[in-house]
Symmetry: D2
Subunit: 145 residues, 4 copies
Amino acid sequence: MSLKPCAHRVAYYETDQMGIVHHSNYIRWFEEARDDVVRDYGIDYRQIEAQGVLMPVVHVSCDYKRAAKYGDQVSIYAFPRFFNGIRLRYEYEVRGEDDTLIVTGNSEHCFIDAVTRKPVNLKKRMPEYCETLSRLVEQVNGGKE
Amino acid sequence: MSLKPCAHRVAYYETDQMGIVHHSNYIRWFEEARDDVVRDYGIDYRQIEAQGVLMPVVHVSCDYKRAAKYGDQVSIYAFPRFFNGIRLRYEYEVRGEDDTLIVTGNSEHCFIDAVTRKPVNLKKRMPEYCETLSRLVEQVNGGKE
Amino acid sequence: MSLKPCAHRVAYYETDQMGIVHHSNYIRWFEEARDDVVRDYGIDYRQIEAQGVLMPVVHVSCDYKRAAKYGDQVSIYAFPRFFNGIRLRYEYEVRGEDDTLIVTGNSEHCFIDAVTRKPVNLKKRMPEYCETLSRLVEQVNGGKE
Amino acid sequence: MSLKPCAHRVAYYETDQMGIVHHSNYIRWFEEARDDVVRDYGIDYRQIEAQGVLMPVVHVSCDYKRAAKYGDQVSIYAFPRFFNGIRLRYEYEVRGEDDTLIVTGNSEHCFIDAVTRKPVNLKKRMPEYCETLSRLVEQVNGGKE
C-alpha cells in the first residue's frame, strides 16, 4: 500500500547557522506526517483528545543521511507499523524533490487518560478508532491474512 | 529600581542560516524574562494557572538593533510598566555581554478564565497577587506618588 | 489586487499548554507567508542570498485577536506595502477557516551584504528584482499602471 | 568522573497542549548540554566552526520515561562516550529536581569541512582539541591514567 506523504516546504526559521535544517525539526515533521496519514484515513487526532485520551511519545529515533535546506519541498512518509491498543509504532522517511532519502526515523507512542495520566487500552476506550488504525497498519505492512 | 535580568546563553538551535539568532526567538526570551522577574518577587506563574487563570498575549512588538549570536551570554530585562487588573504591559531590553543594546520590545497581556475563556478581573480573583504585582510596577516606574 | 494566502495547517508542536498556538509562532508564519507571496511572483529568496544579500528583520509587531488551535487550517496573508531599495515593509493577516481574523501584524526589513554586514541599496545590487518587487507593492496598494 | 550537568528552567514556550514539554525540545536540550560539557573543559564549539569545521548530527535517539513540565528546573547530563577523530558519540540523561530520570538519549556526530562539506579527520585538522576531547571521553568512561 502506498501512503500519500506529507508535503512540507522548508521554512527559513527551520534552518540553523550550519545552513541546513536543524536536526530537531525532523522530529517535528514526523509529528506532522503521522497526523496527516491518519487524517487521510478519516481519523482526526483532535477527536481522540476530545475523548480524554492523550498519545505521548515514549521513544523517538532519527538517522540523518543528507541535509534538507531552506526552500526545499520535502515529502515526509509516516508508516504506522505496529498497533495493539497499548502501543503504536511509526517508521518515517523524509525525501527530497528528486526522491533522495534525507532522513529515516521511528517513534513509539502509548495512550494515557488526560485526567488520571494512567495508561489506557484504546481497544476498550475507542474500539472503532482501533479497528481503523489496525486496518491501516495491516495495509501498510502489505498484510494479507 | 533595578531589576535582575534573566541570563540566557544563546543555543545553536536558536540560530538561522543568516548566522544570527532567528528573530522569533527574542519573543520567546521575553517570556522567559517576565517569568523570572515575577518569580524573583515571589510570584510563580504556575500558581496563577493552578487557580484557573490564563494570561494570553494580546500584543507583542520587537525592534532589532543588533544581532545576538550563538554562544553569546545575553541579559533579558523585563520591566512591568502597567497593570490594572485587566491589562498588564511589559517593556523589554536584551543586552549583550558588554551591555550593548540588542533588541527592545514590549508586550501586552490580558487575563482569562481557563474554562470559560472569558476576561477576568484579577483584582477580584487574586487580590494578593495583584497587590504584589502593582507594587512591583510602581517600583519599576520609579514610583513615588 | 488579491494575493493568494499561504496555507498552513497548525501542528501540535506549535501549541502550548494554554491549548492554543504559542504566540511566537505567528512571527514564524509571517516569514512563511512573505516567502510564498514573492515566490508566486517569481522571486526566490534563495537567489537573493545566493547573490550575497541578507534581509534581516528590523521590526516586527503582532496583535492577537483570537487564538488558532491545533489542526486548524489557517490562511496567512502577507502584503508588501512599502519598498524603496533600502527598506521593505509587510503587513499580515492570519485568518481561520471561516475567514475570521486571528492576528494582524507587520514587519520591516533592511538589506545587508552577507560578508561585510553593511547596508546595501538593492536598487543598485539587484535592479531586476527591485523592479519586480516595486511592481508587486504597487499592485498590492491598489496602484494602477 | 562526575560531570556538571547543564541547568535548564523549562520555559512556557517549550510546552505543548498536553501540558508537558514537547518531545522535540529534549533533542534541543541535548545540544545545550553537549555545548556546556566541553565548554567547562575549555573547548568552545565556536572555535571549531571558526576553523571551518562543522559537526552535524548523524543519529539521535530519545527515550521518554516521565514528562518535564513548565517551570521545572531540570539537569541535563551529556556524557561523551566515544571519539576517534571521525565520530563522536554522546549519551544523555535529563533529571528532575529530585533527581528522577525524565529522559535518556544519545547522539552521534561526524565532522565535515564547512566549505567542501566533505568528512574531516579532526585528529589531523585540530590535534590539540582532539587531545582534550579524548581525555574527557576517557575520564567519563572511568578511565585511569
